[in-house]
Each structure stands twice: as C-alpha cells, then as structure tokens.
C-alpha cells in the first residue's frame, strides 16, 4: 500500500517543498490531484494526476445501444447535463437523418439556457467560497433551487435530467412552465445587483483576481481552450454563433468577448453570459410553437456505417462528439472532446510563479468539473 497516491516524486533540490493538493481537497471541487513544487509560497512546478473519477464512459458506450449511452453523458459534466444529452441526441439525429419537430427544438434550447444559468450560478457561489467569502454561496443557491424546481416539474429529476430523447424530448412541458420561467427571470434580474454588491465590487475580491492568472490569446488557442476561458482572452469560439443548432439561429444574442484574459475577465464574461442566457429565454418563452414534441422513432436505432461529428456549446466550452458507427445497434467508437479537458491544460502556464492563494483563484475562475476531464 505504499505507492498509493501519485508516488512519482519530482526531483527536488533541497530547498524546494513538494505538497499534494490532493484528491480530497476543498478547493478542487472534485478529485483533481495536483502535485505542486513550491519555493516558499511561490509555485515552481505543477503536475496534474487524473483518473480518480475515470469510469471509462467511452468503453462502456461501446457495449450499450444508441438509446442507452446518451444518459451516461449527463454524469460527465453534471452541471450542463441537459446540454450533453442534447449533443448526443443531435449527433444521433444527424446520423439517422431524423426530423425533429419545431416545438422540441425550442424546448431543448430553453432547457439548455436554463441549465447554463443554473451552472453559472453554482460557479459564482463556489468562486466566493474558494475566496473565503462563505455567504455568496447561499445567495447563489437561492436562484438555482428555483430553476431546479422547474426542471423537476418538467423532467422529473433535478440534476441529471435525461430529458432529451433522439427525435425530440421525452414529454411535453408542464402546464405552468411558461409562467414559472417568466417569474424566475424577473426575480433573478432584480437580484442580479446583489451578485455585484457581494463579490464584483468587493475590493478584496478584486485585489485577489485582477491581474491574476493571465492567459494570452495565442496561449489560449494553442492550448485549445474554449468557452468563457477562451472568450475572456479574446477568442470568439461560441458554437451557438458558429454552427447554430436547434433554435439558436432564431434568437439574437451577443457573444461576450473581452481581451484582458485574467481571472476577473473570466468572472465578468460569465456574469454577462448569464444576462445573455436570460435574453435568449425571454425571446423564446413566449412563442413556443405548438405541435408534436417528439417524432416517434420506432425500434432499434441502426445508423448507417460511417463517422458523424457534432459540436455543442456547454456552460464550460465546446463539447465535440465523434461517433463512429459500423451499422450495428451499438456505436463502434465514441469520443467525447470535453471542454474541461483542454481548459485544465491552461492551469499550469497561468499559475506558475503565482502563490497558493492565486492557484485557488485561478482554479475557481477556470470552473473545472473533474468527471468531465476523466470521463
């Protein structure tokens, strides 16, 4: 039992100090294990050790049929569970050329934007928690619980909703779904000023995040960062704009791009994205087209042999699905290109030279979900 945790010790000269920001650590929000080589408080070297939550979803999908493996993806990035399922359903619909009714497209987009809102709220709460301010965590959960109530009413479960089905959505929306969503959006817009008062305008928070963890545009591109992390460094990579899927071509919203590229820029980008998501929801909520919510896909899905690629914008970046099928009812090979996996690569260049306090601030601004990295 001696080499249990990442026993490969980096060769350290005498005055360097190696500590494990271990698998069980409050600030990693999951089981990310970083081995830091410290010189006093300054970080000299950082080595990630992954795999503590690697469940082999890609190998499992090869022995499950097309209707079953979709719901494993909501256990990958559980904060944008619906968006992952939506991506899989889109890929399968592209493979078998199924026609999805308009009503299903709009409902899926609405649910995707609500998931993004809930995920950004939880990120905002845990950023405050990592910086030591405990109270914002509870204010973030106040709105998030309302959104989860809506999910529970329509899809039956709060977090891993399994609401998407190839060909549309599992069942129609709850009768007072529209009323509740409007009520939440109005209430959240009133409370949004609290978010600014609690953290954004807080001088200690600003001094901890402005200028900390700078990621230049070229470095972000070469590290293949996507999502708010990349948009804070000036790359325009929003899949909803580049390749609009479902009902995104019908709504107008702007992609928030800033060029500072430090922790505070990533914070501001996500706050603005919350406002944009609310715009999208408001544009769609009033004109949900009537009609079927799902086209019946009978029997076993057997897409023709070949390769299919679908990419989608989750709350943390671009999720790409590479589906290789050999004509049977089980996928031959599935590859999930997850946003957190490449965003994790950006952690090292940003935190070298910084202090442990900065490492915590950078990890909070990267908003990593570890099961999304390990799959």
């Amino acid at each position: 039992m001696e080499n249990i945790i990442g026993s490969q010790i980096i060769q350290s000269s005498d005055d360097e100090f190696i500590i494990n920001v271990g698998p069980q650590h409050p600030s990693t929000h999951g089981v990310l294990h970083l081995q830091l080589k410290l010189d006093g408080e300054k970080i000299v070297d950082l080595k990630p050790f992954l795999g503590y939550i690697h469940r082999g979803i890609e190998k499992m999908s090869e022995s499950l049929n097309y209707k079953q493996f979709i719901y494993l993806t909501s256990r990958m990035d559980y904060l944008s569970a619906h968006i992952n399922n939506q991506a899989c359903c889109l890929a399968i619909e592209k493979a078998i050329q199924a026609e999805v009714p308009e009503r299903a497209r709009v409902i899926r987009t609405l649910m995707a934007e609500l998931t993004r809102l809930a995920s950004h709220q939880l990120w905002w709460g845990s950023t405050g928690l990592d910086m030591g301010a405990v109270s914002p965590f509870f204010y973030a959960f106040r709105e998030r619980e309302m959104i989860l109530e809506i999910f529970e009413e329509t899809c039956g479960s709060r977090l891993t909703m399994n609401y998407c089905v190839p060909g549309g959505v599992m069942n129609d929306i709850h009768p007072d779904f529209v009323r509740k969503v409007k009520q939440i959006i109005k209430q959240f817009r009133d409370n949004l000023h609290e978010y600014d008062e609690l953290l954004t305008n807080n001088p200690i928070f600003q001094s901890r995040t402005i200028g900390v963890g700078y990621l230049s545009r070229e470095e972000a591109i070469s590290l293949a960062c996507t999502g708010p992390v990349a948009r804070a460094s000036g790359i325009s990579c929003d899949v909803r704009k580049k390749e609009p899927y479902d009902a995104y071509d019908r709504v107008t919203f702007d992609e928030i791009i800033t060029t500072e590229g430090d922790c505070f820029a990533r914070y501001k980008v996500r706050l603005e994205e919350m406002k944009q998501s609310m715009n999208i929801i408001e544009q769609l909520i009033d004109n949900i087209p009537a009609g079927e919510y799902r086209t019946k896909i009978k029997g076993i899905i057997k897409p023709p042999a070949g390769e299919y690629y679908q990419r989608v914008e989750t709350a943390r970046g671009e999720l790409g699905i590479y589906l290789v099928s050999d004509g049977t009812n089980k996928p031959y090979r599935i590859k999930f290109r997850t946003p957190n996996f490449s965003n994790l690569g950006a952690l090292k260049p940003m935190s070298l030279g910084g202090k442990i306090g900065d490492l915590v601030a950078i990890m909070a601004s990267l908003d990593l979900i570890i099961p999304d990295i390990d799959r």
Partner: protein
C-alpha cells in the same frame, strides 16, 4: 458558417488522397511524413491551423487509426488529418512543439491505446493507476470483473 478548405489543400498537397470524415475535409497521411505535413499546416500563412481541437484514435482491429482534428481560428475552417498504424509497435511523433494542447491528448491516447508518442515531455498513464497492465480502449481488452481482482491484489478489501 464553416468554410471548407478543399481548394487550398489540394493546391498545397496535390499528392495526398483527399476524403471526407463526418462532413469534414480529411487528408490521409502516412506515419513517417506526418510531422512535416503538420508543421506545414501549422505555419503555412494561407492555412494557419493554430488549434488542435481533438486527437482521437479508433481501433479498427486490422490497424489503429489516429485522427487529428485541426481548426484555424483566423481562417475559420476545419481539417481532419488521418494516419494508420499497425498494432505491433504503434509509434508517432509528438505534436507538443506545434500545439500545446497535444500534451494532454497524447497522454490520454497513450494510456488508452498504448500509442507511444516520441518526444513527449511527460508521457505517463493519465487515467489508469500506474501499475495497470493492458490498454482499456483496445477492442481486444475485456472490461468485465477487472475491478474485483484489482481490489484483491492491492489488499483494499475490508475483510483482508
């Protein structure tokens, strides 16, 4: 919308077979001149593929197929570079000098398929424990009741 870089590719690489991989333009490159093609794709002004979006491998039982998905943020087009490797001794040059994101991708492919990337700064098993034998994503790998004898062999069971 994404433009398709077919015209420029055929003009720069006339001899490479051009194909389609999931509606994306794909070129198939042999194993040994992969690195030269990639550096050209990276540095050529009119191509400028500056982002390696994803690195995938598919075990086609007869051979291993490795797929590089490249994207140019300035030109806004995508390209797939495909290579075939025989299963005996899968070797590939590491793309870390061209794209930094290759580091994590290649560690994962090494861990899952056993493809060794020469010149990689820190090639180790990323997801599986250090002392794990076998490469899980190979078709020949049998995934059942592997977990129980791992626990038994590492004295982790409660009654041991």
């Amino acid at each position: 919308m994404q433009q398709q870089p077919e015209a420029i590719i055929t003009q720069i690489f006339p001899d490479l077979p051009l194909g389609r991989w999931a509606q994306l333009v794909a070129i198939t490159v042999k194993q040994d001149d992969l690195y030269t093609v990639c550096t050209q794709l990276r540095q050529h002004p009119s191509l400028d593929f500056d982002m390696l979006v994803c690195l995938t491998a598919v075990d086609r039982t007869t051979h291993l197929e490795v797929i590089y998905h490249l994207r140019s943020t300035s030109r806004n087009h995508d390209l797939i570079v495909k290579t075939e490797l025989n299963e005996a001794q899968p070797e590939l040059p590491s793309m870390v000098p061209l794209w930094k994101s290759a580091e994590l991708f290649e560690m994962e492919i090494y861990d899952m398929f056993g493809i060794v990337f020469k010149g990689h700064p820190d090639l180790r098993r990323l997801f599986m424990p250090e002392d794990w034998e076998g490469y899980p994503l190979r078709k020949s790998y049998n995934a059942n009741e592997v977990a129980d004898n791992y626990l038994k062999s590492h004295q982790l069971l409660i009654n041991q």
